[in-house]
Amino acid sequence: MTDTILTANFRKQFSGGPEIVVDELRIGAGITVLFGASGSGKTTVLRCLAGLEIPDVGEIKFGGEVWFQKNGNVFAPPQRRHIGFVPQDYALFPHLTVAGNVGYGLNDLPAAERAPRIAETLQWLGLAGLEERLPRELSGGQQQRVALARAVVRRPKLLLLDEPLAALDTPTRLRLRGELRQLLRQLGIPTILVTHDQLEALALGNDVVVLHAGRNVQHGAAQEVFSRPGNLAVAEITAFETIQPGVVLETRDGLATVAVGDARLIALAEDLPIDAREVYVCIRAEDVILARPDSAPSSPRNHLAATVRAVVREGPLMRVNLDCGFPLTALLTRPACEELGLHEGLRLVALVKAPQVHLIPFTR
C-alpha cells in the first residue's frame, strides 16, 4: 500500500437504512475499490467523500486539507474539493453537447486553453468527432466515456467512480472492463471505485476495501482480501473461494493454458487481451466437482490430481480444501462427501469446466 492520502472516520444514519460507520479508513494513491453487496452503503460512503452527503459525525481529510470535521464545524462543499465524480447513471447534462458537458468544469481555465484541453481529452478517450452530439444520441459505452472525460478534464486530485460499468449490457461491460483498467492506470489519478462485482474489483483495483452493512470490515490487496477473507462477513460476500496467480502459457482455438502453481489449467480465452501474461485464476467452490480417480466424468477440461487437506463443516454443506499443485476449495453436500468417503489425505480428482475458470489479467 502506498502512502495514505485520504483518511476518513465518520458515521451517517439514514432514517430507515443502516448506519454507515467508517472506521479508520485510510486510502492511498492508486486505485482503491470499495467493494460490497447492494445496500452495504458503498455509494453513500463515496458520496460523503465527494461532499454530496454530509456525515453526522466524524472527519474526512484529504492531503493536507480538512474536508469535513463535525467538531470544528468544517464542511468543504464539492466545489472546493477538486474531485472528479462519475455516478452510476453518468448524469450527463441533457441540454449540453458532449463538448459542453466535458468543458463544463473548465471555467477556471483561460478561454483560450479550454478548447484544446477538451479536444485532447476527447481524443484520448476515443470520442473525437462526437463534440456536437447530445447525450441522448450516444451509446452506453460512449456515455460512460463522456462522463469520465468530464470528470478528468480538469485534472482532479481524486477520482470517484460509482459502479462505472453497471449501466452497460454484459458484452460491453466485459469489453470495457479492460479498457477502463488501462485508462485509469494511464491517468495516474488517485481513484476510488465502487462495485459489487468481484471480478470487476479484481480487474480494476489495487486495493480493496470491503463494506458490509455500512461498515468497512477489511482492507488489503485485492487478491488477499478475496482469497483470505478476514471474517465471516467478508467471506459471505466473496463468491470466488479460489483466487490464485497464474501465468498464461499459450492461447489457441479460443482456449488459454494457464500455469497455476504446479498445475496446468485450461480456461476460455475470449476476453483475454492478446498480450496477457500474468492473470488471477478465479474458481467458485461450487464449480469444483470431486470424483474418485477411476470414475471421473470426462467432459470437464480440467482434471487435477488433488489431495484433501481439510474438511470443514459449513451448515448443510462441507467445505473441502484441496491441494492440486495450488490451493483449491470445493463445496459439497454432506451426502456427496459421505459417498466419496472424504477424509484428510484422500487422493481424488478435482474437475473444473473450462468456462468456470475465470481469468483476470493484472500487472503488478
Binding site: L52, D89, F93, P94, Y104, G105, N107
Partner: protein, 221 residues
C-alpha cells in the same frame, strides 16, 4: 378601435410587462427556495404566497393600500424620502399586477424546478460550479419550459387584473386605467359597444397567452 383605445391596450401591455420585471426575480427565488430547501416556517410561506389566489382581489388591494398608502410603512417612507407616491399612480398598477400574478408564476416555476433532477445540480457542483452558476447553467435551462409557461400565465393574469388594481391605483384615464378597469367603466357609463370591443381585445390576448402556456407545459420530455 380608436387611437385612445389602442393607447389603452398599449398601456395595459406595458404595465403587464413591467409587473413581470418585479415577478421574475422574486418569483424565481421563491420558487427555487420552495422547491429545493426546507425550513421551519416553510408551510407559512407557501400559504402566504398562495393567498392572493384565493382571497378576494379587493382584499389583496386593501393590504397593498395599507402598505403603500402615504400613511403606510413603505408609502410614507417613499413619500417623505423621495417625494414619490405609489397609490393612484402607475407604480401602484405594477405592484398590484405583480402581487396578484406572483402566486401563479411561483406555482408553475416551483413545479418546473422540482422536476429538474438534483443529480445534475450535484454533478455540476463536483465540477466546481458555484450555486449561482449551477442555477443559471443547469437548473434554469432544464426548467425552461415550465418557467416560461408560468411567465405567460402570470402575464395573462396581470392583463386581466381588476380588483386589487382599482383599489390601489384607482381609475385615472391615461394614467392608471387598464383594460379591465376601462371595460368596467364603459359598462358603468352605459357604453356597451365600447365595452364589448375592449372585452374582445382582452379575450384574444388572454386566449393566446394561455394557449401557448398550456402547450409549453404539455410538451415536455
Amino acid at each position: 378601435m380608436s387611437g385612445a383605445e389602442w393607447q389603452l391596450v398599449g398601456f395595459s401591455l406595458r404595465m403587464a410587462f413591467a409587473s413581470l420585471l418585479l415577478i421574475l426575480p422574486f418569483g424565481l427565488a421563491l420558487a427555487w427556495c420552495l422547491a429545493r430547501k426546507d425550513w421551519r416556517g416553510k408551510a407559512l410561506v407557501e400559504t402566504l404566497v398562495s393567498l392572493p389566489l384565493v382571497l378576494p382581489p379587493v382584499v389583496t388591494g386593501l393590504v397593498l393600500l395599507q402598505i403603500f398608502g402615504r400613511r403606510g410603512p413603505v408609502g410614507s417612507w417613499l413619500h417623505n424620502t423621495f417625494n414619490c407616491d405609489v397609490v393612484f399612480t402607475w407604480r401602484a398598477v405594477v405592484i398590484a399586477l405583480a402581487a396578484m400574478s406572483l402566486p401563479l408564476f411561483v406555482r408553475a416555476a416551483r413545479t418546473a424546478f422540482e422536476e429538474v433532477d438534483v443529480k445534475f445540480e450535484q454533478l455540476a457542483r463536483t465540477l466546481g460550479a458555484g450555486e449561482w452558476r449551477v442555477f443559471f447553467t443547469i437548473t434554469l435551462p432544464l426548467a425552461k419550459r415550465g418557467v416560461l409557461a408560468g411567465t405567460l400565465l402570470a402575464f395573462a393574469r396581470a392583463l386581466g387584473e381588476f380588483g386589487a388594481t382599482i383599489m390601489v391605483a384607482g381609475n385615472i384615464p391615461g394614467r392608471t386605467t387598464t383594460l379591465p378597469v376601462a371595460i368596467y367603466q364603459a359598462v358603468e357609463n352605459g357604453e356597451d359597444a365600447h365595452a364589448w370591443m375592449l372585452a374582445g381585445v382582452s379575450a384574444v390576448i388572454a386566449f393566446a397567452a394561455v394557449f401557448v402556456s398550456e402547450n409549453l407545459q404539455r410538451r415536455r420530455k
